[in-house]
């Protein structure tokens, strides 16, 4: 505190009106000159003691009860053989690693894992590619068109997931969907009553369209915001040197936005890998459980088949896979935090 008051005191004589104004000088805009006069200081802290801990306690406590405890319970449950009968009798017999060995030896589990990874890879690639392109398009548009496009993106972004799943089911309806009409209009045959949800693969294609449609606005609008931070001088300099558009992107824009790219990519990996509502509400993991991704697989095994212990093991393995992506993400974020 003393340092602070000294700082203000020493700065005050600099601007006479400020001193004259004295007490009415409520919001002093920090001017550059004033800032440079001050001895460099780190984060100025107010007197601390118990107060910060008191302020943080409610947040930490609630996260401990409703987040940490369920996670621990999830781990415990994955070592227990809780099925329908045990559930009714309220028994929790220990089975050691049985749930895990059962899963790891089950080809069905592995096909769900592969499916989840493929869906995630395809989706993230599409989202990042198209999102970046749309973001760059936004950057080059005039004011009016930019407003139109960003408003359209905003609508897709804001659309609640459950509502958009319902709309997509309607768009791809077997009898009266627009998708079939579009296919017919373009000139494809066999779309009189095409069932888009006939196979797990086709269901996942629709899910992919939905996920990509819903995820691009975030990437595109953030990409545009990031692009505006790259100074126009850089572009102009590159242009003067005779760089092509492609070249400008890779040697000027991309290096500047690399942290942004990396962070967004990992965010998308995490979000898409754990997407539940989009996959489940679209077709309940069907037909015949063939569009299940890991989160849906865990849900169906648990709530549907009543293999609660097994489901807990699936969710633990899913979380472990998510942790791999998250560790990269956290490292990037922490690096950025340090740089700031």
């Amino acid at each position: 505190m003393t340092v602070d008051s000294q700082g203000t005191a020493s700065a005050a004589p600099q601007d006479a009106p400020g001193r004259a104004a004295g007490k009415s000088q409520t919001p002093p805009p920090p001017s550059g000159a004033k800032e440079s006069l001050r001895p460099p200081r780190g984060r100025r802290s107010l007197p601390s003691g118990l107060l910060p801990y008191l302020l943080v306690t409610p947040a930490l406590l609630s996260m401990a009860v409703l987040l940490l405890y369920p996670l621990i319970r999830n781990v415990i449950l994955s070592f227990q053989g809780v099925n329908k009968r045990e559930m009714i009798r309220r028994e929790t017999p220990w089975v050691g690693f049985e749930n895990y060995t059962k899963l790891l030896g089950d080809p069905d589990f592995w096909s769900v894992v592969v499916r989840s990874l493929v869906v995630t890879a395809v989706n993230v690639a599409l989202v990042m590619l198209i999102g970046t392109l749309v973001g760059m398009l936004l950057n080059r548009l005039g004011k009016k068109m930019r407003l139109v496009l960003s408003l359209a993106l905003m609508f897709a972004w804001a659309m609640p997931i459950v509502a958009s799943v319902t709309v997509f089911r309607w768009l791809f309806d077997e009898q009266f969907g627009v998708a079939n009409w579009v296919m017919r209009s373009i000139g494809f045959s066999g779309y009189e009553q095409h069932n888009w949800f006939e196979t797990g693969f086709s269901t996942l294609v629709i899910v992919t369209i939905l996920l990509v449609w819903g995820s691009i606005p975030f990437v595109a609008l953030n990409m545009y915001a990031a692009l505006t931070t790259v100074g126009t001088e850089l572009y102009e300099a590159a242009k003067m040197d005779g760089a092509s558009g492609w070249r400008t992107f890779w040697s000027v824009v991309f290096p500047n936005l690399k942290p942004f790219f990396m962070i967004t990519t990992f965010l998308e990996i995490i979000w898409i890998f754990k997407a539940f509502t989009q996959v489940y509400a679209m077709n309940q993991g069907g037909p015949d459980r063939s569009s299940e991704t890991l989160p849906v697989f865990a849900y169906i095994e648990g709530m549907g088949q009543q293999h609660y212990g097994l489901a807990a093991a699936i969710s633990i393995l899913t979380i472990v896979m998510l942790l791999v992506a998250m560790s990269f993400y956290f490292r990037l974020i922490l690096k950025q935090e340090d740089e700031q």
Binding site: L151, F155, A156, F176
Partner: protein, 288 residues
Amino acid sequence: MSTTTPTPQKLRTRRPLRPAAVAKNLTALVVAAIFVFPVYWMFSSSLKPQSEILTKDPVFFFKPTFENYSTATGVDLFWSYVTNSLIVTLGAVLLALLVALAASFAIARMKFKGRKGIVLIVMMAQMAPWEVMVIAMYMIARDNDMLNSIPLLTAIYFVMVLPFTIWTLRGFIAAVPVELEEAAQIDGCTRGQAFRKVIFPLLAPGLMSTSLFGFITAWNEFAMVLVLNKDKTNQTLTFWLTQFQTAFGNDWAATMAASTLFALPVLVVFIFLQRKAVGGMTAGAVKG
């Protein structure tokens, strides 16, 4: 205009449209149309009379009707779903704002042992895979006889939006210059007063946009309510919407009316507050 010597910039704006510019704008229009279409189609389908919705070739021009909306809202328990959704969402957001304000103030403005650790915890909690934890949550709720409980759902949503709320508010508080707070204290404010009179008003846009995102998260949540609240009277609107099509067979017009009703608050809030929040952030923020 012709008498003045045109500056280079004026020349540029008056130059006839180049093919590249036309292509650019056309692409933008097509992209915009693709992104808006599902939302538009939901809205337009919801207004179609029964005779014009179940057609092989879609009808684009029709006389709008609101009968589908009365079908959708006439569903049993509609108003209890609305009430439940509102309680759960608003409760979670308000609780989160309150708890997060305290925590983020400590993190942004105070130096204490373990600060960095708490930041890390908040970051990790923000990425919590809630959708994957539903089974464990179900077991906990069942063991404590809290299945079909609105308070439990509110509490879960509160913790769901809390880390994000702390994270963003921390940024907003850090953006308020310490000088303002100090000046207020020099002027005789207590620390609490300085917070209430100086920081809090400046935080308003931040609080607004943060609660907006919290609202959207809680309003949209589906996995938890699906698992925990099986009892119809304790369901929220997300459940109502997913069950709609099953219950009403092929009544797509009413289903779209239900979707519109569900999506409208979020769309309005998002579009309205997004501009306000962004404007507030750029207008009120202090650099450095």
